[in-house]
């Protein structure tokens, strides 16, 4: 957290995104999620695959219509009816980087046309010379060179493709970027390069990130704060150091205990929390607290009452009855 007087860039309030699976069943991919993102920070979002991270990101950026709740960007509602001009303005401020470096670039377009797509849509270049120059500049920014401009995506490696995707997002000069697992499809040796590029860009351009990942160790490295999701719910949100040192939610504790420690002495004596059972289906989630079926501390009340999303300590939010005075008198 760079500055103390922090300005909210994005507010997500009780966001819900439900998919109709068939006539009866509804899949609650994101169910009542609230959090804020401050200007200039990186908010990490972690959780097992299928817990609704991508859906959260895509709903924030309007790729999906929200079922309920709202998203405010600089105080303005993102969803709902908008004029074409408002939409365009909004599209330039918020951008997305995708997970799959193979599916995220159109195989029939040259790198130049891919990167220039935003320039073309928003008419940011007066003529083709200016367009070319902007593309070359962007290629250089992401560590590629301008000879690459006329080539097709299949000629590039995964890491290079991901850089092209980053350049495409940067072309419209956004303030806020949602990075949906941008490194999880890459080789470990390439992951650091892409992460470093993202961090460099953040420093240079004052970007704000929502960084989605399923791997806690990488998220800690780049995030100021981290949110943990489980089955469509946000279960814990705290500054990344605090979250790693003092995780409150049993699910976060379990996730953290699975990360190996580089010190062999510690690693040998380290206690791991093994979660029992399988991930329940989001179509038919457990009543009350969704984590209770796998929670080592589950109480009776967990099956009956949804845990409240509350600030257990300053800046440390958690949704768990263990930290709720009402249900756990002795506290924890």
């Amino acid at each position: 957290m760079a500055t103390m007087e922090r300005e909210k860039l994005l507010e997500v309030k009780n966001l819900k995104k439900h998919f109709k699976v068939d006539r009866k069943a509804v899949l609650k991919a994101v169910d009542d999620v609230s959090f804020d993102i401050y200007k200039g920070e990186t908010l990490g979002l972690v959780g097992e695959s299928g817990c609704g991270k991508s859906t959260t990101g895509r709903t924030i950026i309007r790729l999906y219509e929200a079922t309920d709740g709202e998203v405010l960007y600089e105080g303005k509602n993102v969803h709902g009816k908008k004029s074409a001009r408002e939409l365009k303005e909004f599209n330039r401020k918020m951008q997305m980087i995708f997970q799959d470096p193979y599916a995220s670039l159109n195989p029939r377009m040259t790198v130049k046309d891919i990167i220039a797509e935003g320039i073309d849509i928003h008419r940011l270049a007066k003529n083709s010379k200016e367009r070319n120059e902007r593309v070359y500049e962007l290629l250089e920014t992401v560590g590629l060179n301008k000879d690459h401009a006329n080539r097709y995506p299949h000629e590039f490696s995964g890491g290079q493709r991901q850089r092209i995707g980053i350049a495409r997002a940067l072309a419209v000069d956004p303030d806020f970027i949602i990075a949906d697992e941008p490194i999880s499809a890459l080789d470990v040796s390439i992951q650091a390069q892409v992460v470093n590029l993202l961090m460099k860009l953040q420093k240079e351009r004052g970007l704000t990130y929502l960084f989605i990942a399923h791997d806690l160790s990488m998220v800690k490295h780049i995030s100021d704060r981290v949110g943990v999701m489980y089955l469509g719910n946000l279960v814990e949100l705290a500054g990344s150091d605090e979250l790693y040192e003092e995780p409150l939610h049993p699910y976060t504790q379990a996730l953290l205990s699975a990360i190996p420690v580089p010190d062999p002495e510690v690693e040998r004596s380290r206690e791991r929390i093994i979660l029992e059972g399988d991930l329940p289906s989001p179509i038919n989630p457990p009543s009350g607290c969704r984590f209770r079926t796998r929670c080592p501390h589950a109480m009776d009340v967990c099956a009956r009452v949804n845990p409240k999303w509350q600030e257990a300590r300053e800046g440390h939010w958690v949704a768990c009855h263990l930290y709720d005075q009402e249900f756990n008198k002795e506290g924890k």
């Binding site: 895509r58 950026i61 309007r62 790729l63 939409l87 365009k88 599209n91 330039r92 918020m94 951008q95 997305m96 995708f98 997970q99 799959d100 599916a103 995220s104 670039l105 159109n106 195989p107 029939r108 377009m109 046309d113 797509e117 935003g118 849509i121 928003h122 560590g143 590629l144 060179n145 000879d147 690459h148 006329n150 080539r151 097709y152 299949h154 000629e155 590039f156 290079q160 995707g165 495409r168 997002a169 419209v172």
Partner: protein, 340 residues
């Protein structure tokens, strides 16, 4: 060889000089997708053979009738059922191009035809020149096939594209309609169609198209549905792309390949179907001929005058096989998984 003979020491190794900018370099020549497809197609001998054969047949379909001295509907009852006779080749008797029928009679001599008169593929039961009729028939068959393929293309791509792109309720309604149409046996529809309208090039084409587009529309719809969820489409949408842009820049270029493949398979399908209609008497009506009509006529006299059925059949087989070879070749060439 033992290691002791020559000791490897550290100072024998030196790091290779490397330009840090160089390692991102790609040396392969840059090819567009279609150049790449052509490069791969060229390597496929079967597909190229098919392509050459089709080009030759198309050329012959137009040149053939012109280089013969007989008209396609010119009848001559004194010169019926003549066997083939070709100048030059008539001397090589076992080829069967010497004007001698299967019973060993030289029909040209029996019917007092002047020495300089040749019917290259013989004549039919009304004395019309079979050579001219075969190439005229090829013209008609190809015309019907291309028109039918174009009809499939236009209707199928539009219908499938709209259905897949808009999805939801629109898709639901459009697909129910297709299912109903698909549920009715298409032969019934086609036969009714031709009975109502006179059999002719247009009505036969329409009859083929009326159910033929369904396959194409399903293919296109599937492809569009698949593409719609792909991340490059999502990326384009987050950049604010309009529907028109999504369609023209992203969806069409990525659907073109399967559409072309499907076309190369629907052309022989239409040729075959037209032949089938001729066989059941609903095809092109005389004096116009199509390959199917010629084969159907020749078939009736197969045991006495085999040449009447054999030559149009050979042309038709070559056409069908060639289109299928090209289709197969294109499918391999367009398949990104085959990329090297």
């Amino acid at each position: 060889m033992s290691m002791t003979e020559k000791k490897l020491t550290d100072d024998m190794f030196q790091p290779a000089a490397m330009d840090p900018g160089k390692h991102e370099e790609i040396t392969k020549p840059s090819l567009t997708y279609w150049q790449d497809v052509w490069r791969r197609l060229k390597k496929n001998k079967a597909a190229i053979t098919g392509l050459v054969a089709i080009i030759l047949i198309v050329i012959m379909a137009f040149v053939g009738p012109a280089i013969s001295s007989h008209g396609f509907d010119q009848q001559d009852v004194r010169r019926t059922n003549l066997p083939p006779k070709i100048p030059g080749l008539e001397k090589v008797h076992f080829l069967g191009m010497d004007g001698v029928d299967i019973r060993g009679n030289d029909q040209y001599k029996l019917k007092n035809i002047p020495k300089d008169q040749y019917y290259w593929f013989g004549t039919d039961s009304l004395g019309r020149d079979q050579w001219t009729r075969i190439w005229k028939g090829t013209q008609i068959s190809l015309l019907i096939a291309f028109l039918a393929a174009a009809g499939d293309l236009i209707i199928g791509v539009t219908y499938g594209g709209i259905s897949g792109f808009f999805g939801g309720k629109v898709d639901n309604i459009m697909q129910r309609f297709v299912e109903i149409l698909y549920g009715i046996p298409n032969l019934v529809i086609i036969i009714l169609f031709i009975l109502i309208f006179e059999p002719g090039i247009l009505s036969i084409t329409l009859a083929i198209v009326i159910t033929g587009w369904i396959g194409m529309s399903r293919l296109v719809r599937g492809q569009i549905l698949k593409l719609k969820g792909q991340e490059f489409i999502l990326a384009s949408r987050t950049l604010g792309a309009s529907n028109g842009r999504l369609i023209m820049k992203h969806l069409v270029p990525n659907t073109l390949g399967i559409v072309i493949i499907s076309m190369t398979f629907s052309i022989p399908g239409a040729i075959f179907f037209e032949a089938f209609l001729s066989f059941i008497g609903l095809g092109i009506q005389p004096p116009t001929a199509s390959l199917g009509a010629l084969i159907s006529d020749g078939f009736k006299q197969l045991r006495i005058y085999p040449h009447l059925a054999i030559y149009p059949s050979v042309v038709m087989c070559i056409l069908m096989v060639s289109f299928n070879l090209i289709g197969d070749g294109l499918r391999d060439a367009l398949d990104p998984k085959m990329r090297k």
